[in-house]
Amino acid sequence: MSALVEVEEVSKLFAPRLTFGEKIAARLGSAIETRTVHALDRVSLTIAPGEVVGLVGESGCGKSTLGRVIAGILPPTSGSARIAGEPVMVGNRRPVKRTTRVQMVFQDPFASLDPRKRVGRTIAEGPVAHKLVSRAGAAAYVARWLEAVGLDPDFANRFPHQFSGGQRQRIAIARALAMQPDVIVCDEPVASLDVSIQAQIINLFLKLRRELGLTMLFISHDLGVVRHVSDRIAIMYLGRIVEIGDARRAYTNPLHPYTRALLDSVPKLVLEGDEIVSFKAISGELPSALSPPSGCHFHLRCPHVVDRCRHEIPSLREIEAAHWAACHLAPFAE
């Protein structure tokens, strides 16, 4: 069964555009430092049809950037992202997204809906433009998708500001689904919602997945949420995937030291014995993406670091069945 989403050796560099004056200065020999951010460093990933892959990491790890590359919002600097064999973005000088097979749900439901349009029009806009539905049939089409996300079809005539955060996120999901995509990329879809609303939206994702057989890339910094919805999990650190494997397995037997440290540092409600909460902090600061450490990016904070880690970049190795980690020393004896 071939993969639906194929990300191959994708790198993404962000270099600030020099102003006219700076370009002249550079020509004249003055040393203008070009601060290039290595947001993604030769990342490869596949997602099978119907699979949900969770993407976890902290700020600067590149998970949002990877999501945007797959969704066709950002073109990769090198490497390719393909959906069902077709590249997501085409064009050399100004790459444009050509396919509608992948859609994105954004983090902030307040900002991702046009405040001046009624939500029904926002949902119908894409499908009508791409001839998925005629203008005449748009109203019924929108109603169908509003119901699918648990909203009253009459809401189509309202403006975004009349809805709560949870409702707006449902509308954003309806908009993505209305394009009938094969893949949905969700970038922190529940991060800005209250805990009780989070649960509702997570359940909605689970339901849609069951009914529509969605293939999803679920990006989040919340380890608990990701584990709950994903089949497989990929953990990213400073632009690279450091571990990827079955969701349950990655949490019960993390192979990469960063994964282990990350899991340990989340306060967990234990409620057994005397302890209420357990967590253990990782030492050191997150390195800046502007000047990443050499070799393995995690070596400055890793309790198991050896000399090899400082010079040689570890590649993803299959340590146990379908469970990969980018570490020279894994697996560690328990």
């Binding site: 649960a199 380890l223 584990r227 989340v266 306060p267 909460v277």
Partner: protein, 324 residues
């Protein structure tokens, strides 16, 4: 022995064009010196406004319309601005979610800390510098002496929050109110700050009010939890007790909706509906429209019943054996 902080029937309303928003309604609690209490709730629960009210930071159209806040016996509600300013920073301080709301982007950290010191005492420049370095070292900022002369934008988010905490601690206040201080930070940084706060609180004997929507972070610090909903305290008690056997259906619902405590892949137990608008609060218990246990009597606002260290505001409290 009277408590360090005594809050009685604190009520804060916002008079807006659309109506009166009853953000905080009759909130009462005590805080002993050196103790940590957690204020838990979702958006609209009134937890942040409670914190701001205690510090006298409510601006029009908001007003503390009733109640009293006593810090070491001194009444804070109704105090004039000058006296409040003298208190703030010296006896009580606040740390916000966004450190940039407390740090001036155009001044170095050294300058800001010196200004904070000079606001309440006379210190020489050298003494101010020495104390600033000491404060930064206490919050684990590496190379404190050099970093002191940096600007806020040269620090990462976690570092900035540490600087904010250091400034809050400069005058060794008796009480610090922290409003979602780690929410915007990465998980690993959050863990570090929580660990440091734990030891700081222990070493300095500072009392903390930790406001957050995240039950887990609150529980890692607080010895007592207050759960708020729609402006009122609906449950109170020692942390372990409240988490192991919540009495209020909302508290139980909160615990059950945490994915980390659920079976992966299966639907989470969700609380139906959404938080009520504080403009149009219905009669009686604010949680009634979403509560599985609600009956007719819930059209009457339940009173906060105290049983020893626990308190809850519910006509149908859950049985004590109930585990989430």
């Amino acid at each position: 022995m009277s408590a360090l902080l005594e809050v009685r029937d604190l009520t804060t309303h916002f008079i807006t064009r659309a109506g009166t928003v009853k953000a905080v309604e009759s909130v009462s609690f005590d805080l002993a010196a050196g103790d940590v209490v957690g204020l838990v709730g979702e958006s609209g629960s009134g937890k942040s406004v409670t914190g701001l009210s205690i510090l006298g930071l409510i601006d029009p159209p908001g007003r503390i319309v009733a109640g009293s806040v006593r810090l070491a016996g001194q009444e804070l509600v109704g105090l004039d601005r000058e006296s409040l300013r003298t208190l703030r920073g010296r006896r009580v301080a606040m740390v916000f979610q966004d450190p940039m709301s407390m740090l001036n982007p155009v001044l170095t950290i050294a300058t800001q800390m010196r200004l904070a010191l000079e606001a309440h005492e006379r210190v020489s420049k050298e003494a101010a510098r020495a104390r600033s370095i000491e404060a930064l070292t206490a919050v684990r900022i590496p190379d404190a002496a050099q970093r002191l002369d940096a600007y806020p934008h040269q620090f990462s988010g976690g570092m900035r929050q540490r600087v904010a905490i250091a400034i809050a601690l400069l005058h060794r206040p008796a009480l610090i109110v922290c409003d979602e201080p780690t929410t915007a930070l990465d998980v690993s940084i959050q863990a570090q700050i929580l660990t440091e706060m734990r030891s700081l609180v222990r070493d300095l004997g500072t009392a903390l009010i930790w406001i957050s929507h995240d039950l887990a972070t609150v529980s890692s610090l607080a010895s007592r939890i207050l759960v708020m909903y729609a402006g009122r305290i609906i449950e109170e008690g020692p942390t372990a007790a409240v988490l192991r056997s919540p009495r209020h259906p909302y508290s139980r619902g909160l615990l059950q909706s945490l994915p980390s405590r659920a079976e992966p892949g299966r639907d989470l137990a969700q609380i139906p509906g959404s938080t009520p608008s504080l403009l149009k609060l219905a009669e009686g218990c604010a949680f009634r429209p979403r509560c599985g246990e609600a009956t007719d009597i819930c059209h009457e606002m339940p009173a906060l019943e105290r049983h020893g260290a626990r308190a809850y505001r519910c006509h149908h409290p859950l049985a004590t054996e109930a585990r989430s």
